[in-house]
């Protein structure tokens, strides 16, 4: 796969997994917001119409509760991994950590709190991969924007010289592209590239998930690896290596009968 831009869009390898995930999220949204509508697409894309009577404070509370419920009740990590297994394994190898909590973002039309321009590294490790998975078709301002890797580096060089954040933002947005991603696809991107979202000026709500995977042994970011990630997949090869070392140390030390 071509990663020189720092990102690529990949079609799902197992649509059943992603569809199951979408259905479960949709049902939890129905439950949390008392939405009586059988059409999944409508529930997700027109979410803002179903909640337009809800106050901003209540909406935020319910949204936080929804995120909690989604993480507790849906096997998100497994479903996402199964949907993009080959690509994740190709990028990171067979010994994987996964972010403990999957993020769920709901961006309604004209919500004036979009995700500001930023990059995840070095807080997050540059060896992590981010999967951004929309549950609806995303295009134009309903999508995310990214700045390619080469431009990101140039922009940071410029920022370090001038220390002018507003100019940095203007130039970054100019260099950025909104990446269309349909349901059934994922945007894979490096934590080293600048990204964010504009105010959603389309007529539909964007509902998306994002989660990070990392090889267990690759250098961590500034975040504590054990706080942020959990073990997801370990090869027999690494399992064997690590248990041999431990056994040797315990036995060396006397009569442990484990």
């Amino acid at each position: 796969m071509d990663f020189h831009n720092g990102y690529f869009v990949k079609k799902c390898e197992k649509i059943e997994s992603l569809s199951a995930l979408k259905l479960q999220v949709c049902n939890l949204i129905r439950e949390e917001f008392n939405i009586e509508c059988d059409d999944d697409e409508k529930v997700l894309n027109q979410f803002h119409e179903f909640v337009n009577e809800v106050s901003a404070i209540d909406l935020n509370e319910k949204r936080m509760l929804l995120i909690k419920k989604i993480n507790q009740n849906i096997n998100l990590k497994e479903l996402i991994f199964n949907s993009f297994k080959d690509t994740i394994l190709d990028l990171l190898g067979p010994d994987l950590l996964v972010q403990k909590n999957c993020n769920i973002v709901i961006q309604m039309p004209n919500d004036n709190n979009p995700s500001e321009l930023h990059r995840d590294a070095p807080g997050n490790s540059p060896y992590e991969i981010v999967l951004w998975i929309p549950l609806v078709d995303c295009f134009k301002t309903k999508a995310m924007y990214l700045v390619d890797y080469k431009s990101t580096l140039e922009l940071y060089d410029d920022l370090e010289k001038n220390l002018d954040w507003e100019q940095f933002e203007r130039k970054s947005i100019k260099k950025s592209s909104c990446i269309p991603v349909k349901f059934g696809e994922a945007l894979f991107f490096s934590t080293a590239v600048l990204h964010g979202s504009h105010i959603n000026k389309e007529t539909e709500t964007r509902i998306s998930l994002n989660i990070r995977f990392k090889n267990i042994f690759s250098p961590s970011g500034l975040k504590n690896q054990l706080q942020f990630f959990e073990k997801f997949l370990i090869s027999d090869f690494v399992e064997m290596g690590s248990s041999l070392e431990l056994k040797k140390l315990i036995v060396q030390n006397e009569k442990y009968e484990g």
Binding site: P126, I216, P219, S220, S242, L246, E254
Partner: protein, 133 residues
């Protein structure tokens, strides 16, 4: 005499970590409560030798009625030339559980260590064996 079912923990803060002792104690206390216990004694390694952790094992050996020891962070086992697995094993052999507050990680006994050893090793490798930052 210990109160029934309430575990007694020894608290060991990180001498090298920038957070002041009261902040570290807060995090350690939270972990003690989560593990159904409380902090009975506390201490720390000397700044000049903390990377070799010479203090804690003898201290635990001579402190009675301790169920577990709570370190502020797993980093305390990573400041030497390699991960201090030997100390971890030695503490567990005293039938004292080992906990890391910042990482919310507990190792109850040697069998538990078998399942969590790779997490510790990988943490050391990923956090302390890098040079890009």
């Amino acid at each position: 005499m210990k109160a029934k079912n309430i575990k007694s923990f020894y608290s060991c803060i990180d001498t090298y970590y920038a957070a002041p002792s009261p902040e570290q104690h807060d995090v350690i206390n939270t972990m003690a409560k989560r593990e159904n216990g409380k902090i009975i004694f506390y201490g720390a390694e000397d700044y000049f030798v903390a990377h070799t952790q010479p203090f804690i094992l003898p201290k635990l050996k001579r402190t009675r009625n301790i169920d577990g020891v709570i370190f502020f962070t797993l980093n305390q086992f990573c400041y030497g030339e390699s991960f201090n697995l030997k100390l971890l094993i030695d503490i567990l052999k005293l039938n004292i559980s080992v906990h890391f507050a910042r990482e919310a990680l507990s190792i109850q006994n040697l069998n538990d260590l078998k399942t969590k050893h790779l997490d510790l090793l990988a943490y050391y490798q990923a956090t302390f064996k890098k040079c890009y930052l």
